[in-house]
Symmetry: C2
Subunit: 360 residues, 2 copies
């Protein structure tokens, strides 16, 4: 763990020191030794999750290093949130084509800023060469905790009759990605010519505030840690939406051997609340179709999606992040989409795949 000791110490050592103090009862030894040593409080379970971000795959080479730092941790903490766990600390593996001090200064700033916000100290890490032509690769492993009575929300625990909920506004991150590609004049690379003009029309009339929200959802997501903690008493199954609503919901219905009915009307209404003038646009129907696709297929949202008994409906509605009840669970299998109360259709089983080209 000590390769490039100086590099770690220089960029990640000092800010950690103050962070370490905020968690000093837990972190007995932080970065700089062979291992970090943590004291897990009595009657707590330890939660572990890990994720990698690769330049050119998960972020653009020119993206703000500070936002990359922020997001690298956020998408990991989102996995803890999806289990109702609160952060204990994290490790960082950086693989870089060379030592770019300016990039490291900004990257560590964004990363440690968010770490401080979530009280999640950096406890270990290493920095290695990615080879001269290699891409920057960022792997983060987060550790979290929750009381022994709460073993996480198992995705197999959904019941027929459960409500289906999402936090925030899933789909915003995919919209943000489309805006990014538009800014780079690369939109055409990622959709069919017939869709391109429709997409361009949509983006050309997008309200400024919605555009800003979408960009922020893509670049600076926040893990729903407080919500996840609040859900400990209510949720049965819970996932985060890193791979897209249909894909992630697919894991719940598969593990629980149930069918999910997702209301397209509710998702359309969500977008119309965000963008009330859309209803007057003569392209309203086709634009809404694109926005709903962002919600269903778009990855990179770090919202939560969970199931809960209808008896908790009123309490859940009052939780942070304006939870949205988008459907319910029933016997059967697969993810089904219902519209206008009509017979539903089976959702295409497509989830976010970083190996595939972005298809829209």
């Amino acid at each position: 763990m000590l390769v490039e000791f100086d590099l770690i110490q220089r960029h990640f050592g000092l800010p950690f020191y103050s962070l370490g103090q905020s968690n000093s009862a837990t972190v007995l030894t932080g970065i700089g030794d062979d291992c970090a040593v943590l004291k897990i409080p009595l009657n707590q379970l330890t939660f572990v999750s890990t994720d990698t971000l690769v330049e050119g795959v998960h972020f653009f080479k020119e993206d703000s290093p500070s936002l990359i730092g922020w997001k690298s941790l956020a998408c990991n903490l989102s996995d803890l949130a999806a289990c109702g766990a609160m952060p204990l600390g994290f490790t960082l593996n950086l693989s870089l084509p060379g030592v770019d001090e300016n990039w490291l200064i900004e990257f560590s700033k964004g990363l440690l800023w968010y770490a401080k916000q979530e009280n999640c100290p950096l406890v270990g890490g290493d920095t290695t060469s990615a080879g001269l032509n290699g891409n920057k690769t960022i792997s983060i492993t987060v550790l979290g905790q929750a009381p022994s009575g709460h073993g996480g929300f198992h995705r197999s625990l959904a019941n027929a009759g459960d409500d289906l909920w999402v936090s925030g506004r899933p789909g915003l991150a995919r919209l943000g990605l489309l805006i990014e590609y538009q800014n780079r004049d690369q939109l055409g690379l990622f959709c069919s010519p017939s869709k391109l003009s429709e997409l361009q029309s949509l983006l050309s009339v997008l309200p400024v505030e919605l555009r800003a929200c979408a960009t922020q959802a893509l670049q600076q997501p926040e893990a729903r840690l407080v919500l996840g903690k609040s859900l400990r008493s209510f949720a049965k199954a819970c996932v985060d939406l890193s791979d897209g609503l249909i894909g992630d919901l697919g894991h719940i219905v598969q593990s629980s051997a149930l069918r999910a009915n997702v209301s397209l009307d509710v998702i359309q209404a969500m977008w119309l609340r965000f963008w009330p003038d859309l209803a007057q646009n003569h392209n309203c129907e086709s634009f809404l179709k694109i926005l709903v696709e962002c919600t269903l297929q778009g990855g990179d949202d770090y919202e939560l999606c969970w199931t809960a008994s209808p008896i908790h409906r009123n309490l859940i509605q009052k939780l942070e992040s304006s939870p949205l009840r988008i459907g319910s669970l029933a016997s059967g299998q697969g993810v089904w989409l219902t519209q206008n109360g009509h017979e539903s259709t089976l959702a295409p089983s497509h989830s976010y795949n970083h190996f595939a080209e972005l298809t829209f």
Copy 2:
């Protein structure tokens, strides 16, 4: 954590299942969910360490995937060993330029074989694209435990008068690396022309058994977990030799504000025991010089180096791995080399640096 869910499940899921059972009291949820959930036994501390291996930097593209898998875990577990901790589980981040099923089959075989040997289940991970031209990157984070009374061997706890010990035969891995470069006809790239012929002469007369040991030390190291555990009662400061003896020992003397005296005679005697015929070789002196440099400067050994009071000398000598007493600690600073009882010289402050070219 669910990107490429199928890939993880296919290559790492089934073997884990049997591993998971062997640790079922600890691993409540393993791979396949957002987080792994671990139950840390009462009165135990948790140890965390993380390391990355990059193709072309830490291993050759053509290396056996199964040995790469083995070594990726071994060098991480070595950090636990250096803290006297025993493994709880690990997470894996794989970043690959594409899906090479054959490589994954062999890689997971070697990785999980060693994981099983050390009773260290895979509890989480993800697989991402490294981009088409990217290098394979393997990040592993290990979790370990030790009783609360044992907080790890802090490198600042060495005392003046302590003996200085190493396990096994440090330097073998560097010798193995030289053999690898020789096999690839690339030895000349990594040393000056004046040294090249000397090195070639040495390698041409290297006994077959020593050659095999060196190659194994490079390709299939084993973490000194049992030794680390045994040392809980004896060691003051302890590190593993991943960055080379002088470099890693440098961390101990710096943190403990002491001077280390390392006996070159002991290290020479170690090599002569390995290779008794060397004493009759007319190049004995210059060959020994190279071998001793392998020990002092060579990285990638996963042996332990520790300090302990002389009162434990007899007990330590009986521990596994044939510990070698290579010197002692005294007041002062720096790492000093003594030979033939003569005045010592300050060791060059060079440690293994994956960003630099291999200089020998």
